[in-house]
């Protein structure tokens, strides 16, 4: 029990890393991206050249593989400091300000989840889920008005095996990819399950 909380200030260094970016504007941006990712359109403007498309595809391949390898620290290194990871509870996704999601994390809560799994005492991941992701149907286009940021949509199928049980999860991923210095980083990942509104099984790893 803590008894000294009376004087604790809001942004006390106790909460690291500070998470000042999850504000109304950030949510507004996520909603705008979410709608754009799911837009019914035959024409995406701002398609990348072949070299950039290949670079983005490599990034997504590595992202998938690191998750399959449970290499969560390395996985998080692929993300920008002010990132978001969102699994809507509905199809199509609703506004996360008004509706519960299956998961919605800033970097800090992603770190919480990684640390929790890292204790070796998270029983839902003892044994850990083995996964293999297949991505397909990749589409890449530039974020409106930006030359350093792209939006990506692709389908995924994930085979999972844990404790003798096999499952297949499927749906589509949305990403925002940003040029940071020389590297490409992920600023946002949205996981749209086929059936987020139906009862889910043990998804206690990262999707």
């Amino acid at each position: 029990m803590k008894n000294d909380t009376a004087t604790a200030a809001s942004a006390a260094p106790r909460y690291q890393p500070a998470s000042n970016y999850v504000d109304d504007a950030f949510y507004g941006w996520l909603n705008e991206v979410s709608l754009d990712l799911d837009a019914v359109t035959t024409q995406r403007t701002g398609r990348p050249d072949a070299a950039l498309a290949a670079e983005i595809e490599r990034l997504l391949t590595v992202e998938s593989r690191l998750l399959d390898q449970h290499a969560y620290a390395e996985w998080l290194d692929l993300y920008t400091p002010e990132c978001a990871y969102w699994i809507p509870a509905t199809r199509p996704a609703g506004d996360p300000r008004a509706q519960i999601t299956l998961e919605f994390h800033d970097r800090r809560r992603l770190l919480d989840r990684v640390a929790r799994l890292g204790t070796g005492l998270a029983y839902s991941q003892l044994p850990a889920s083995r996964t293999a992701r297949q991505l397909s149907g990749l589409e890449i286009w530039a974020s409106p008005g930006r030359s350093d940021e792209w939006r990506v949509r692709c389908n995924f199928l994930m085979a999972e095996s844990r404790a003798g049980k096999r499952r297949v999860l499927g749906g589509w991923y949305g990403f925002v990819v940003r040029r940071v210095g020389d590297a490409l980083r992920l600023a946002f990942k949205q996981v749209n399950l086929l059936d987020p509104d139906e009862p889910q099984g043990n998804n206690s790893f990262f999707l």
Partner: protein
């Protein structure tokens, strides 16, 4: 699987299956017991269906369940609620295939019989092929014997002899009132979506855990260790030495119980103890800037859970700010619905924060619980010769004591919760209740 059962002999010995300090494994694993539960418990006593805020407008409907019985709940044009079976009066097809939405009528997709949103039959294609005997029959969609709402919480039962809902809630009602008060009152609650989980275990594994203050420091140690390592402690850390904490477990009668965490959770500030959720800093700065100092604590704490685990037997669990509903599927399968709540009087910032808070435990803790429930079920199935489930913790320590109000109060790690609800379970299972559904015309 060989599963020797006293029930097969025709005279179930409920006293043998449910003893004061242990219960028999077959009550979790045997399909015939499950089938009896669906009548004697999930039809013969009050079962929670949904919250009225889920049907805000005339014409809204939602599917709901009494155990394995599927129902449609609607709000009609006069704002009255109706509850009827999702089962066509013709040859049995479900008339509604959507989880919810808006509809002024339901047309059965098989032969096209039409029902209004009170479940009343008003259209049959080719009606001239039916005769006088048919027309004399009640052919409206089947309605449970009793439906009642307690401050927005809608319950139903097929048992015409069930006591009034308020009597059934009994000593749980004051706690439910306090939970409602934490949300700013009955009209202030808005359900804001749901997380749903499928569990391969008997529904009672979930109910067992709902009043279990014993498992927390062990089952959730990954969460507690992480919180400690990253933030120097906080949320739920008071469960570490729970029997010496100020928390209490109450058996409230009729199978209802509550773990009251508030003395510890709200001892200093529930907001300060809360793990930092996404947007915490922005939200807190917003509250400090827009709310008078005297009110800030209350507003911040409204983003945090209500500090009780209130368990209304058999299927409603109020945990934090969430409304959890237990839906049994079969002896070894259960669906859990976690309905999130918002406040009508709150600004967007508070309601957003409430969403992030309510998402925390499901992924950080509930997953580990669910894994344990499923492994409990597997354990009970896989070695039938080991017959008993022990529920004797604090049974012999003399620490479960009756208070002036007729409740039994025990240490928070007492298995009093199980003993209390199993006493009710046994009463209901031994009874021979009347179950009734009506297909007659509703009086206008």
């Amino acid at each position: 699987m060989n599963d020797p059962l006293p029930l097969a002999a025709g005279s179930p010995s409920w006293d043998w299956l449910i003893q004061d300090d242990r219960v028999h494994r077959t009550i979790y694993t045997d399909p015939s017991i499950f089938a009896r539960e669906m009548n004697n418990i999930f039809a013969a006593t009050w079962v929670y269906l949904l919250h009225e805020s889920e049907l805000p407008e005339p014409g809204d409907f939602r599917r709901a369940w009494m155990g394995t019985r599927e129902l449609i709940v609607t709000r009609d044009e006069a704002r009255a609620l109706h509850v009827f079976a999702n089962r066509c009066s013709h040859r049995g097809a479900t008339v509604c295939r959507e989880p919810g939405g808006k509809a002024s009528s339901f047309t059965c997709p098989y032969h096209g019989w039409k029902y209004d949103n009170r479940g009343q039959l008003f259209g049959i294609p080719g009606k001239t092929a039916y005769g006088a005997e048919f027309k004399a029959r009640d052919m409206h969609l089947a309605r449970p014997a009793q439906v009642a709402s307690y401050k927005g919480f809608v319950f139903a039962t097929l048992n015409p002899d069930a006591p009034p809902l308020e009597t059934h809630l009994g000593a749980a009602a004051p706690f439910l009132d306090e939970w409602i008060e934490h949300q700013g009152g009955a009209d202030n609650i808005m359900v804001g979506g749901a997380q749903r989980f499928h569990l391969e275990c008997n529904w009672k594994m979930v109910f067992d855990n709902a009043g279990d203050g014993y498992h927390v420091p062990f089952s959730h140690q990954s969460l507690l260790q992480m919180t400690n390592a990253r933030y120097g402690g906080g949320d739920m850390s008071y469960f570490a030495d729970a029997d010496r904490s100020r928390m209490k477990l109450y058996a409230l009668g009729n199978g209802h119980t509550v773990i009251d965490q508030r003395p510890d959770m709200y001892g200093n500030s529930a907001w300060e103890q809360q793990r930092p959720q996404p947007g915490r800093e922005v939200f807190e700065a917003h509250v400090r800037a827009t709310v008078a100092d005297a009110d800030a604590k209350r507003v911040l704490e409204s983003a945090v859970g209500a500090g009780m685990n209130l368990n209304i037997f058999p299927n409603l669990l109020l945990i934090g700010n969430q409304i959890q509903v237990v839906q049994p599927l079969n002896a070894g399968g259960t669906t859990m619905h976690w309905h999130a709540t918002r406040r009508r009087d709150a600004d967007d910032a508070l309601n957003t924060m409430r969403m992030r808070t309510q998402e925390d435990f499901p992924i950080m803790g509930e997953m580990d619980d669910a894994g344990n429930f499923e492994e409990c079920h597997r354990g009970l199935v896989n070695f039938p010769e080991d017959e008993w489930i022990d529920i004797s913790r604090h049974h012999e320590t003399g620490q479960d004591v009756a208070d002036e109000e007729g409740r039994i109060v025990g240490p928070v790690t007492s298995e009093l919760h199980l003993r209390a609800y199993y006493a009710q379970w046994k009463r209901l299972m031994a009874a021979e209740p009347t179950l009734r559904a009506s297909k007659s015309r509703i009086a206008r």
